[in-house]
């Protein structure tokens, strides 16, 4: 039995030789390439390999696809399956041999690659370098090897689909991505690319996600058995029976029913998903107890959709909002004219109407969202007319920024979000609100700046900002930066910056400080002077709000633990903070998106 299996292994080994050649070639090539593009003695394994495994996992997945897809049908395509069936070897042994060899070779490639990275790490060591992270390397290898096994097992049954497997894989990741964005609980457990979540710091413990591994193991096991069943049933004759069946009347009926039935089921399932969400796009705390009626009111009567138009706007709203929307609509053109005038937006940027959609739910905690000539806004009953105008002014600013810069800032959103929100807030508070309305923003920024200087470098990198601060700090901080720019270069400074950003010959894909240096230089401004003024303004804010800030306790330490399926955060607060704090003040914990995903 073992001899027969060894023979099968040998046969498959020979058959897969071109694939091994490809793997070896890729490895050798990588070895050479790094000498041309990197300083190999500045290559710590933690920073370069372990901390961000995303790209390497994608390459591993592609290699598994190359190795597995088609491997089960090759004998049939080459017409030698009948011959193989005549030999004293089982389909099971052939199936195991094929999967195992692909798994083994891709794993070996990854192990060699880790060894190569470890050698570079040794070359990169300095006297104050942390010790080699053996635990993390071990965990990385374990999870990586598990994922290779998972990829191979799940790709095996797709092997029969040949070219169609690409469509299935694309559809699977599309659906998974959508389910994740909608926020279906635990859906990340279905995503193998979420398995490897290295800790933030090299000294932190890497907790192995056993539950996630268990879920993926079940999927892998099921897929492996499915693939085996298909392989066992695969006929050596080129699918004649299947073709006969497909072309028969019953076959046609069955396929037709399957296709349309599937479509209906899909629609029903997705509609059910929709009912998990309330009108603000948030998941209710107890989804099981909420009925569809509570969540999604009927769209007749007050919820029927109506439209209205002005010279520059189209409004889509629910009937029940009609009065409020029409009041706002009266001033809408004027709001656009004011903002366009301030930003010196020319005719192209204001061509056509802007659609304002009040009819659909928004992302949580959002008052409005702006896109290319479209705004989605919430319009709850308690929102006053003045407030709605201010929000519309804010969102219109976003629309004009997009149009004036040809959506260039969208491409560099991580470096430009602060400017988008800062300028929109500046316009909102300067043109559409009372002067003292910005007090909350100023206090927020003063407090944040008291706890740690708000640097411009943080603002131009969302990743850096999110790491240490509330990402929404871009609203007050961006607004203060715009104020600083206006202080130094005058009222037309934002308009000139927008023109510089949107100039046709602007270098594309600039990011970070380089983007803003470039824009300032073209506008004839000194970025450093604006930064300097920004620092001065922050200092003044700290002074102004010194007393309030002193009353609010800064949480510097604390513990976080899992308890009864929840994460319990216990901050260490200074004694007597509650007495000192302003009346009614409470601590609010807002976990970041990353924390939510990790918890799932």
């Amino acid at each position: 039995m073992i001899r027969r299996f060894t023979a099968v292994l040998w046969k498959e080994w020979k058959g897969l030789q071109p694939f091994y050649f490809l793997l070896v070639a890729l490895f050798v090539f990588g070895l050479v390439l790094v000498q041309f593009v990197d300083f190999m003695d500045e290559y710590p394994i933690w920073d370069k390999v372990i901390k961000s495994p995303g790209d390497s996992l994608i390459i591993t997945y592609i290699l598994c696809m190359v190795g597995v897809l088609g491997v089960l049908t090759r004998e049939k395509d080459e017409g030698i399956l009948t011959y193989l069936d005549g030999l004293p070897v089982s389909r099971l042994s052939m199936y195991i041999a094929k999967g195992f060899l692909v798994f083994l070779m891709v794993s070996m490639l990854d192990i060699f690659w880790i060894i190569e990275s470890m050698l570079y790490d040794i070359l990169s060591r300095e006297s104050d370098s942390p010790p080699m992270p053996w635990n993390h390397i071990g965990t990385f290898l374990f999870l990586n090897t598990f994922l290779i096994a998972f990829f191979v097992c799940t790709l095996l049954p797709l092997s029969f689909l040949r070219l169609w497997s690409l469509l299935v894989i694309a559809a699977w990741f599309l659906i998974l991505g959508i389910l994740k964005t909608v926020g279906i609980p635990f859906v990340t457990w279905l995503d193998p690319f979420e398995l490897m979540q290295p800790p933030e710091e090299i000294d932190d413990k890497w907790v192995i996600p056993w539950k996630h591994i268990s879920v993926l193991s079940v999927i892998a096991g099921f897929s492996w058995i499915t693939g085996l069943s298909f392989y066992g049933m695969m006929s050596a004759v080129t699918g004649r029976k299947a073709k006969e069946f497909i072309t028969s009347r019953w076959g046609k009926v069955l396929i037709g029913t399957g296709v349309f039935g599937g479509l209906v089921i899909l629609m029903v399932l997705t509609s059910m998903l929709f009912y998990f969400m309330d009108l603000n796009g948030e998941l209710p705390e107890e989804p099981t107890t909420v009925t569809a009626k509570d969540i999604r009111p009927a769209i007749e009567g007050g919820n029927a959709i109506a439209t209205a138009a002005t010279e520059k706007f189209e409004f889509v709203y629910r009937k029940k909002m009609e009065k409020r929307v029409k009041t706002l609509a009266k001033d809408a053109d004027d709001i656009l004219r004011k903002v366009a005038e301030y930003l010196e937006a020319d005719g192209d940027a204001t061509t056509g109407r802007i659609t304002v959609d009040f009819s659909n739910p928004l992302g949580s905690h959002n008052a409005g969202q702006a896109y290319w000539k479209k705004i989605r806004m919430a319009f709850p009953e308690k929102l006053s007319g003045a407030e709605a105008k201010a929000i519309l002014g804010h969102e219109v600013t976003h629309v004009l920024i997009n149009n004036m810069t040809g959506s260039r800032l969208e491409e560099a959103f991580a470096s430009a979000r602060w400017f988008h929100e800062g300028l929109a807030s500046y316009v909102e508070f300067t043109l559409f609100r009372e002067k003292e309305a910005a007090l909350d923003y100023e206090r927020w920024l003063a407090l944040s700046s008291t706890w740690g200087e708000v640097n411009f470098q943080e603002l131009v990198s969302s990743a850096a900002l999110v790491k240490s601060r509330d990402p929404n700090l871009v609203y007050p901080a961006g607004m203060e930066w715009i104020r600083a720019a206006v202080d130094v270069y005058g009222d037309d400074c934002p308009a000139k910056l927008l023109k510089a950003l949107g100039r046709p010959d602007a270098p594309p894909k600039l990011e970070g400080l380089a983007l803003w240096r470039d824009a300032c230089l073209v506008a004839g401004y000194d970025l450093e002077r604006i930064r300097s003024r920004f620092r001065v303004r922050l200092k003044n804010l700290r002074e102004t709000h010194k007393e309030v800030c002193a009353k609010l306790p800064e949480v510097k330490k604390g513990t976080a633990e899992r308890k009864d399926g929840k994460i319990v955060i216990t901050p260490e607060l200074p004694e007597g903070w509650r007495e000192k704090a302003p009346k009614g003040a409470e601590i609010l914990c807002r976990p970041g998106q990353m924390a939510i995903q990790r918890n799932q």
Partner: protein
């Protein structure tokens, strides 16, 4: 006969066509539904655009295979050629069928988006026209491409690989691919949102490309049998696929770093700064307040330019390679040093911050720190490696102390003496300079390094110090690659020292330590 051929295609491929429609529409339905419902997207049509961008290439591949390359692979094209029908009509029929199906999938997707929006999208005829034209333009472009490559049979794999890798490369380069047609037609920031402006230019260019695909399809399809087209029809073996795939992948990845064109922003500058130039060294200083007189800035810039030019020649750096020096006033900077800097990647400039109106500020320190940033820039930070960084720290001390008063020198000597007395000094400390700096605090480590360079100047002469400095820290590095690493390994700092001074570094460290320890430590300091 045409009707019969259409029936033949439908009979042969109807399950595939139906399944393709089902999968495409299902995926687009989910994408559009989700973007419309959860409030994070602009609306249902954004989801449609997103789905079309990703799914139409997959449907294109399958249509190309089903309609074109399967005929070659199954050798049925020989049968087709035997029919009493001109070949061009058969090609026309296949192309029309491919394009028609694509349009059905595309327009069906738009209809799904409209249904999902449940009246929340105001669909005017013009808006519908813009959206349909954009979506169909994109879809026909993609399908046209895959129909043409279907004629290439076995060699289409090469084209696909080239295309996939090129797109990956372009996405990482400075080319804004989404602004070019046909990609601009399906650009997610505008598709389904632009209601007024027809993308005339994008549609024209896309139309021309589609026309090009059609011409290419006829050229390839009408080629006589027995020549290139039959060869193209051959199926590629597993070995060929792996070899060609690997070769192409490797070829592209090799070229990638070299043809990657980083975006070039405006050259770094500070408008309105005070500028002084001396023998090719340009120093620009920007004060915090423009209104104040700039006498101080002019004086600092002038002095700094002269001293930098002198040290540049001493280090052997050419005028052309010397970076532009920018100094920005920052009064609220670290109170002890009053100097800071910021890295400007990909630009040959050094940006320093200085609180030069503050009492603690020292022009000498500004000079020495600026120079250490210059050598760092010049070597692409290779001198920051700890086995070389102590040399930079020592030279920094020499440059700073050149024009410093006796009290500062004495204080620095005391720092060095106390440090060495407490922590010692060995060659291992030099080679592990980062840890030494951590252990003794970087200012003390700097003082120790400076005393070493002063001792070397006294014993071996200033010429030897200069030679050593040039060999150890003034080697120019122009690209991030293995050459710089090899150079550092072949020219270790110990052998550079020996070559420059004729003495081993190990022996010198003993002399250096004794020299520092010979400094009398003042009593109150000891206490």
């Amino acid at each position: 006969m045409t009707g019969v051929l259409i029936q033949k295609e439908l009979r042969r491929h109807w399950p595939a066509f139906l399944l393709l429609g089902f999968l495409t529409w299902s995926a687009i339905f989910i994408a559009a539904f989700r973007l419309n419902a959860d409030g994070t997207g602009a609306g249902a049509f954004t989801g449609v655009g997103w789905g079309l961008f990703w799914l139409i290439p997959v449907t294109g591949i399958i249509l190309g295979r089903a309609l074109i390359s399967s005929e070659y692979q199954a050798k049925t094209q020989i049968f087709l050629e035997g029919l009493p029908l001109p070949k061009w009509r058969m090609i026309t029929l296949k192309l029309v069928l491919g394009f028609l199906l694509t349009c059905i999938y595309t327009m069906g997707s738009i209809a799904i988006g409209w249904l999902i929006s449940m009246g929340a999208e105001i669909v005017t005829p013009k808006f519908l026209g813009i959206m349909t034209a954009s979506a169909c333009g994109w879809s026909l472009f993609v399908t046209g491409f895959f129909l043409v490559t279907g004629f290439l049979g076995r060699y289409r794999l090469i084209i696909y690989l080239t295309l996939a890798l090129s797109i990956r490369m372009i996405r990482n380069s400075s080319i804004p691919i989404r602004e070019f047609p046909p990609f601009a037609l399906i650009d997610s920031s505008r598709f389904g949102l632009e209601k007024e402006v027809w993308p005339v230019f994008d549609l024209q260019v896309t139309g021309l490309i589609i026309l090009g695909w059609i011409v290419a399809a006829y050229t390839l399809g009408l080629a006589k049998e027995g020549n290139i087209s039959s060869m193209l029809g051959e199926k590629m073996s597993y070995r060929e696929k792996m070899f060609i795939g690997g070769a192409f992948g490797i070829g592209f990845m090799t070229l990638f770093p070299f043809i990657l064109n980083e975006p070039k922003p405006e050259p770094f500058d500070i408008p309105g700064a005070v500028e002084e130039e001396w023998e090719g060294v340009v120093v620009k200083i920007s004060p915090e307040e423009l209104e104040k007189p700039v006498d101080l800035e002019v004086a600092i810039a002038g002095k700094l330019a002269r001293r930098l030019a002198k040290q540049r020649d001493w280090l052997g750096i050419s005028k052309e390679d010397f970076p532009g020096i920018f100094i920005v006033e920052k009064s609220d900077i670290d109170e002890e040093e009053r100097i800071d800097w910021e890295e400007i990647p990909e630009e040959n400039v050094v940006l320093m911050y200085a609180g030069y109106r503050q009492p603690e500020f020292s022009e000498n320190r500004l000079l020495s720190w600026t120079l250490s940033q210059v050598v760092r820039k010049y070597s692409k930070s290779r001198v920051s490696h700890e086995d070389r960084w102590w040399v930079v720290c020592g030279l920094e001390g020499l440059w700073e102390m050149e024009q410093t008063d006796a009290d500062t020198i004495k204080a620095r000597e005391q720092m060095a003496a106390k440090t060495v007395k407490q922590h010692g000094l060995t060659i291992d400390n030099l080679m592990g300079w980062s840890k030494y700096q951590d252990d003794v605090e970087w200012r003390n480590a700097d003082a120790v390094a400076w005393m070493g360079m002063r001792k070397l100047e006294q014993t071996a002469g200033s010429e030897a110090v200069r030679t050593f400095a040039r060999m150890a820290v003034a080697h120019q590095v122009t690209r991030t690659d293995g050459r710089a690493v090899a150079w550092d390994y072949l020219h270790p700092v110990t052998s550079a020292f020996e070559k420059a001074t004729g003495e081993s570094l190990e022996n010198f460290v003993t002399e250096w330590r004794d020299y520092i320890l010979s400094v009398d430590i003042e009593k109150e300091d000891v206490e």
